[in-house]
């Protein structure tokens, strides 16, 4: 029997084509692995066994008839609980959507379906993607496969942990302020936050609509690129999608911002063909991280307070049975079924948008967003890409950051890309000296330079082995 551990998309595709494995065997391999190892990892919320096996059977029939198959046909993947998947539950890891069945599928899920990719499981996250550790899930925290006492990061922590632990070949995540990149860094995998508008948000539960991006988490930039090419593009159902002309390749001049961790020395020690990283400055010279984080934590809760109005106990999800009136239904349902961080963000947003505070908070933060975006765009006029670590520290211990502000600060190096709408990819680029845990490097490009940063990431990964070490993970 062929070894199916830690397959890349291309390798799995070739094995399927050469009839060394079947799609059914591959799906069963992952489902068995999830059943065996998920009790330790708790990355998965639900498995989609029946539909996965049906789809696998169709792919196998096609191969048996000698028909050509596409690159993603028969490739098993997982998706964050934010993605609507028709007929399956979509909870956003919240009690307010417990048992909620999606009446339709998100555009990205449909696109992957059409290419023959097979959804095998829905994975855990912070409730409504509010958090940076997956501890805010209303169901259970997820553990980091490198060290089960630590968080996998968040909010797409289930996705990153699943990819690192080999529960499927890739996963879909969402990134509002770092939620694809930070968990990817903590789990030693590759995560792409595309340019804002490059991927349709239709059918994905909204957090902060002017920030939310959807992207792949995978074990290599090559796999991430294959998925990105399928999910990107205009969608008539999401009028904020942009028809970017993705430019490719060429030599690049990068600027690196050092923060005082292992990534700094690894950047200085390595040389990559066609990538000039001779300009190195301190992250303090970048001078936008603190202001960006503050503006982010006003704007995002504001958009949240508007987007989450729909969870009213009327149209879907849970409803409090203690309510006497219609107004009671709203406030008791939300009081009973929203978790602490979701309540906090809704209220901060309501406050920032309310009469008397709008100018001081919301409007001011939108103006700061303009200043931050201009600064990022200016740097990217002088340099092709910005490089900097994804996080300052590696994954922390479960329960270590009970103060919300401490949790917010884990996004310090990632949020500015969301304020500016520029693409950023996090790739594994070293291991913390004291804990041995993986650390990530971000590559940030101009809006629409998604393919360019993927090319750079692929070049780097062809010369390094940081991304290979996950294969040694034993749960």
């Amino acid at each position: 029997m062929e070894n199916m551990n830690y397959l890349s998309i291309t390798r799995a595709h070739n094995l399927l084509k050469m009839k060394k494995i079947t799609a059914t065997a591959l799906v069963k391999f992952y489902l068995d692995k999830i059943k065996q190892e998920n009790p330790k990892l708790k990355a998965v919320i639900s498995i989609t066994e029946k539909s996965a096996l049906e789809k696998a059977k169709k792919v196998d029939a096609k191969i048996a008839k000698g028909e050509e198959i596409g690159i993603l046909e028969g490739i098993p993947y997982t998706a964050k609980e934010m993605f609507m998947t028709k007929g399956e539950t979509t909870t956003a890891s919240s009690k307010i959507l417990k048992d909620y069945k999606s009446p339709y599928s998100a555009t990205v899920i449909k696109k992957l379906d059409e290419e023959g990719a097979i959804l095998i499981a829905k994975v855990n996250q912070d409730e409504f993607a509010h958090g940076g550790s997956t501890e805010n899930s209303a169901y259970h925290p997820t553990h980091n496969p490198w060290d089960l006492e630590r968080v996998p990061g968040g909010s797409s922590g289930g996705s990153a942990a699943a990819v690192a632990a080999d529960f499927g070949i890739f996963s879909l995540g969402t990134d509002t302020g770092g939620s694809i990149r930070q968990p990817s860094a903590y789990c030693g995998v590759t995560g792409l936050k595309p340019s804002y508008g490059a991927v349709s948000r239709y059918g994905v539960i909204s957090m902060a609509s002017s920030f939310d991006c959807i992207g792949p988490i995978a074990r290599s930039a090559e796999d991430a690129e294959i998925v990105f090419e399928v999910i990107a593009g205009l969608d008539s159902k999401d009028s904020t999608t942009v028809d970017y002309e993705f430019a490719n390749g060429g030599d690049v001049k990068a600027i690196y911002y050092e923060v005082g961790n292992i990534i700094d020395s690894n950047v200085k020690e390595n040389k990559f063909p066609g990538i000039d990283i001779s300009t190195i400055e301190s992250v303090d010279d970048l001078g936008i991280t603190n202001e960006s984080l503050a503006a982010y934590y006003i704007l995002v809760p504001s958009e949240i307070s508007s987007n989450l109005e729909r969870y009213d106990g009327i149209r879907y999800g849970s409803r409090s049975d203690k309510a006497g009136s219609l107004n009671d239904t709203y406030s008791k349902t939300r009081g009973e079924f929203f978790g602490p961080e979701v309540k906090r963000r809704n209220m901060i947003g309501t406050y920032a948008l309310s009469a008397g505070y709008y100018d001081a908070y919301y409007k001011k933060a939108m103006q700061v967003r303009t200043i931050m975006k201009n600064k990022v765009d200016d740097i990217l006029k002088m340099h092709d890409v910005i490089l900097l670590p994804t996080t300052i520290d590696p994954a922390f211990k479960i329960g270590a950051k009970s103060d919300p502000i401490e949790m917010y600060k884990t996004d310090i190096l990632t949020v500015f890309a969301n304020l500016a709408g520029v693409p950023s990819i996090s790739i594994p680029f070293g291991f913390d000296e004291s804990t041995g845990l993986p650390m990530g490097l971000q590559i940030i490009g101009k809006q629409g330079d998604d393919k360019k940063i993927l090319e750079i990431a692929k070049t780097i990964q062809s010369k390094t082995v940081y991304q290979e070490k996950i294969k040694e993970i034993k749960l």
Partner: protein, 96 residues
């Protein structure tokens, strides 16, 4: 300096349609205080004459052709997602 008191938090909770118990109110008042301190840094930014940014695509007035497109979503699937239904309608508490 105290930026916010419990009466204001009660008002925000009411506006947010979130019922909180006494413990939650106390805790969230404290947390509000530290979150407002944390975001205070933007007060110092010189934003005179700066246009606010609400979106980053530069798109405006995205239109589609005025033709009826049949949705693939079944109305019954949408209705059945509600917590209480009767005869194909969503049931709610008395409004008045």
């Amino acid at each position: 300096m105290s930026k916010i008191n419990i009466t204001e938090i009660e008002k925000v909770a009411k506006l947010s349609r979130i019922e909180l118990d006494a413990n939650e109110l106390d805790k969230i008042t404290e947390e509000f205080e530290s979150i407002l301190d944390f975001v205070e840094i933007i007060e110092k930014a010189d934003t005179k004459g700066v246009e606010p940014t609400s979106q980053v695509t530069g798109l405006s007035d995205v239109w589609r052709d005025d033709v009826v497109v049949r949705s693939e979503i079944e109305p019954k699937d949408l209705i059945s997602a509600a917590p209480e239904i009767q005869d194909g309608y969503i049931k709610v508490k008395k409004v008045l």
